[in-house]
Point group: C2
Chain length 432, copies 2
């Protein structure tokens, strides 16, 4: 007998009950029969973005010209959007968070600042500890930073080892750099516990929310975090290559130096002084002049998350996210795992909801890329990460339960019919 909870009718019923369902109306939906499960790579376009950008371009730039730095508030835009991110996503107070540059650049700034703070306190701490499966930019930036500090090294561990063997948090570790959600598997780390364990061992912690800002609640003050950076173009819907954010705890920020000392991080940029004096607070993490167009689009993106605040905010979004990923896992378990011809498909994402981000990843040892391509050809957009991962992102702001149902049905069809064996789906593109 079919399970009544795994039907399309039930999915539609779940959508009807969803108190966050109306948030989807904030977005310009793609035309045609597209099911988009890649908001963890690039979020949807908010409806507000194109008109707001047009206004900024034609009025603020075209008419206001240079005067708009004052009259349209451009000079404060990095801070204004930082405050929104701080308030909506991080539990931070005003003036604690700023939007600037890319995530790789911001990671360099905070890691340099953290390493210097750690060495200043205890020169014998010579290790930057991170996850060996961390996103490449994190590993590359960590390698770069330690190369500038004599005797420093990057050590990598698995997060499991961190949890099971606390001795990894040794007295030689200066900074722990972690990404709470693994970009391949979607595994979510316990940020408060790991922060507390690191602090107990005298270690500063950098959390890189690259793959999770806007996907689960974070309370930087409750966990007494040190440094947080995050990405603007995934769950924040800020557009392709949107700028990134930096948050630093107020107890640390005034002691931080970061090497990308551009003029807008100066205490008094318009004095054009020959010596660098960093601004008092988080503004010291700004370097050069930010793109006002990129910031404008990001602000429209953040506003789509802010709209969830009266409906329960990040807690409600997280609850829906887990409901979506659980529903997907139930469907995958019922229809795919262990079924004939699909024996090589496995689930890469933790089944414990507490350890799961807002994505579910499946593995196929040889054809993950082609399966993703075959799904895209059917209008179901997920993505592939080498060597064997198929990623499906569920964005509670706009993903519906019926999308989950239809996507899984399409996946089953691709697998059953072996549609992915078509040579057209096996050809690799640059980006996947």
């Amino acid at each position: 007998m079919a399970n009544a909870l795994l039907t399309r009718e039930h999915a539609i019923h779940l959508d009807a009950l969803d108190s966050l369902g109306s948030l989807r109306d904030q977005f310009q939906l793609p035309e045609g029969n597209i099911i988009y499960l890649d908001g963890n790579s690039l979020g949807f376009l908010p409806r507000a973005t194109a008109p707001r950008l047009d206004q900024v371009v034609t009025q603020e730039w075209g008419q206001g010209l240079i005067r708009s730095w004052n009259n349209a508030g451009w000079i404060g835009l990095s801070r204004r959007i930082g405050d929104k991110i701080g308030s909506v996503l991080l539990g931070a107070g005003p003036g604690e968070c700023v939007v600037t540059d890319s995530l790789s650049i911001n990671l360099y700034k905070v890691l340099m600042a953290a390493v210097d703070l750690a060495i200043e306190k205890d020169p014998s701490r010579t290790v930057v500890l991170t996850d060996r499966d961390n996103f490449p930019s994190d590993l590359y930036i960590a390698q770069s930073v330690v190369s500038t500090r004599h005797g420093m090294q990057v050590h990598t561990v698995t997060p499991d080892a961190l949890l099971t063997t606390p001795s990894h948090l040794s007295t030689s570790v200066a900074v722990l750099l972690l990404t709470p959600v693994d970009y391949r598997t979607g595994r979510l780390l316990d940020m408060p516990s790991l922060t507390a364990a690191a602090h107990a061992a005298g270690i500063l912690v950098i959390w890189d929310l690259a793959h999770s800002a806007g996907a689960h609640p974070v309370d930087v003050h409750a966990m007494d975090a040190d440094f947080v950076v995050g990405c603007g173009y995934k769950y924040l819907n800020g557009g392709p290559g949107a700028p990134a954010f930096v948050w630093v705890h107020p107890r640390l920020v005034h002691r931080c130096t970061q090497p990308l000392s551009g003029w807008l991080g100066h205490q008094n940029p318009f004095a054009f002084a020959p010596e660098y004096t960093p601004a008092d607070g988080i503004q010291r993490f700004v370097s050069g002049t930010p793109s006002i167009l990129a910031l404008t689009a990001l602000e429209c993106g953040i506003d789509t998350l802010a709209a969830a605040t009266p409906l329960g905010g990040m807690v409600a979004l997280r609850e829906k996210s887990l409901h979506l990923t659980s529903f997907f896992l139930e469907l995958v378990d019922a229809w795919i795992i262990g079924h004939e011809g699909m024996e090589t498909i496995t689930v890469a994402t933790p089944r414990d909801p507490q350890h799961r981000g807002s994505q579910v990843s499946l593995r196929h040892p040889t054809d993950a890329y082609a399966i993703v391509q075959a799904l895209i050809a059917r209008g179901v957009i997920g993505d592939f990460r080498a060597p064997d991962i198929m990623r499906f992102g569920f964005t509670p702001l706009y993903t519906r339960f019926v999308d989950v149902f239809d996507a899984t049905a399409a996946l089953v069809d691709v697998l059953r019919t072996e549609a992915y064996k078509d040579p057209a789906f096996q050809t690799r593109h640059t980006v996947t």
Copy 2:
């Protein structure tokens, strides 16, 4: 008897004769009676920008979503625009220039790379030599870079001293970092001569075209330049905070390492390898994911300069620029310098056209800020730079001779009537 060459009729006649006059039609002009002499801070809005951005936002992002990294060519956009800048502005070949990040960030990258190359060849070279009146970001970044290298120092000189006392280019100098156009005075340095003198002394040269990219011809290969960076939002009309560009000579680029080792500078980013291997050429100066919206606007800006190519390109634009600044200086000499009540006004910009960028700066010892404000209130937009500089930028793509005439007439009126003494014009804003 009045000079017939200093009349409004003559200015209109010069505009009628101007073979580049039609290039102004490429821009969305500000409404009202605005004379904009601040294109050296923020260029005009090209007419093409708003519709192109709308297309990128609504179609490429809104409809194409993640697929546009391949299908709309986003992944190659930094390089495509870099090639345009290389070809139109720098005399560079394809694949030599890339657009990425802000100018401050790019300066850090190239200075770190240059210092490392210099030390590798000769560890006794411990000085980064620069202009003491350089733009603050250049000084701050230089201070930051030397602080990471044991024993290194920043020395500053005046450019005049460099020209008159070649011994400043000593065997202790590793890198010479110069901005060809001084942002305050508009003085233009002789890039080929200084490059040759530095090379003869075994010194690598970084040219920061912050205040001049798009304002005068540059031929990186003819002068055998090493490193060039430049700004996208001034003469390039890329919009507020537009991304910046990096060019590195092909004989050097494959030997360069830069510390902001983000994933998109990797030789094979989509392999997600744990170790950083820089891309072969200029792509290694890219770090994280660039803003596609900011790049899109910049490309529209570059296209307004590319449109001058069939009309004589940068050489013709430079000729018009000098004609505009000379006309302004003639008017200022005839009407202001030494006249009663205006005795304290002096010209800060070199009178020799070979040593003049595309701006003219005047000094007033006490009221430069207020005079600029009073002019802005009359619709004549220049800007102020502390402590005593009034800057007037002349952009040959869209500034007319009649604008020069009318702006000077307004300045004379502000000075004669002492309109700037109104307290409203004395109050300082954040940005000027």
